[in-house]
């Protein structure tokens, strides 16, 4: 009994809290680990620095953003989650992934002690979208899986589309000159 009680104490101490950012898209609240977000900017600040891109198979990406010589794909969260289209005001630039996400607003930050596994009943795209579920102030909120915004194949398609668009712009520039 004594050993068991010590182990319980250890597991309690080992439980690590995580800081999350709560944001909303089309009146739905989502959570994302604060560690996954490099920067939050207003969409107004992107004017002039975002470049249009179009791929028929990936309608949720309409713009790219260049930062530190890397192309970031801007994903419209409404389109990603199949929610009604809204006018996003903020963009979350993710860390370690070439993805930025358009969202409506940041609600607040919070600390959570656990991310609960998504029940097995959920067997659709949400298994790629979410890491799990968090229970925050009597609300169950999905915790975003950052790598779920774009698949490896989608990155490849977008990279090719970006290269093609760059070549097109260079040709048009040469013709005008």
């Amino acid at each position: 009994m004594k050993i068991a009680s010590q182990e319980t104490g250890k597991s309690r101490r080992a439980r690590r809290s995580e800081t999350i950012i709560l944001f909303s898209v089309a009146h739905q609240t989502f959570a994302i680990s604060a560690e996954s977000v490099q920067e939050i900017r207003s969409t107004d600040s992107l004017a002039g620095s975002a470049t249009e891109i179009e791929h028929p198979a990936i309608g949720k990406v309409r713009h790219t953003l260049e930062r530190a010589h890397r192309i970031y794909y801007i994903v419209n969260a409404c389109a990603h989650f199949s929610l009604p289209v809204t006018r996003p005001t903020l963009v979350l630039i993710l860390r370690q992934l070439r993805v930025a996400v358009l969202v409506d607003k940041i609600e607040r930050m919070a600390e959570i002690s656990a991310v609960h596994a998504l029940p097995r009943a959920f067997d659709g795209e949400e298994r790629r979208w979410y890491r799990g579920l968090a229970y925050v102030d009597d609300h169950v909120i999905p915790v975003i899986q950052p790598a779920g915004f774009l698949t490896h194949e989608e990155f490849q398609l977008l990279d090719r589309a970006t290269l093609a668009a760059d070549s097109q712009r260079e040709m048009e520039g040469a013709v005008q000159a």
């Binding site: 009943a121 959920f122 659709g124 795209e125 009597d138 169950v140």
Partner: protein, 158 residues
């Protein structure tokens, strides 16, 4: 077989969904939970309406009314918590019900030919024929298939 095993085999929970009564084997049912907040978020899983929090666990809620009744979910008062099997794992799952649940002991008869796969059999309860649900088959059915099953069932009945 012991008396207890025999009793468990023939025990069913009768539940009310809309205007109709159905039955689930009692050994699949964990409890009848009071009405609590339904939490929803974007997903693409058929029949899943959202989740509730019950005894500290997050429990998925299946909206089975379109499958069973061919119509939208009627106002419900309680959640029947049943166990759904995923291979070796078991997950509690909630079914919205009207609250008129009761325990019945009866012998299940095999389903008539052509009934949907989610009908495991029928019970004769108080002069009424009640469909016994195969929970796994019910929640695995797509809404379209279930509606089609529901329509064909209605057409087959006088």
């Amino acid at each position: 077989m012991t008396a207890a095993e025999n009793s468990a085999r023939d025990s069913f929970v009768l539940l009310q969904v809309g205007e109709r009564r159905f039955a689930l084997p009692a050994d699949k049912v964990a409890e009848l939970a009071p009405p609590v907040r339904l939490h929803t978020f974007p997903h693409s899983s058929a029949l899943v309406a959202g989740v509730i929090v019950r005894r500290g666990r997050i429990v998925p809620v299946y909206d089975v009314a379109p499958a069973l009744l061919g119509s939208e979910s009627p106002a419900h008062r309680f959640y029947l918590i049943a166990q759904r099997e995923f291979g070796a794992a078991v997950e509690p799952s909630a079914l919205p019900v009207n609250g008129e649940c009761e325990l019945a002991t009866a012998e299940m008869q095999p389903p008539e030919a052509g009934r949907p796969a989610y009908v495991a059999g029928t019970l004769a309860v108080g002069g009424e024929s009640v469909d016994v649900l195969n929970f796994e088959a019910l929640v695995a059915a797509t809404p379209q298939a279930a509606e089609s099953n529901s329509s064909s069932r209605d057409e087959a009945r006088p």
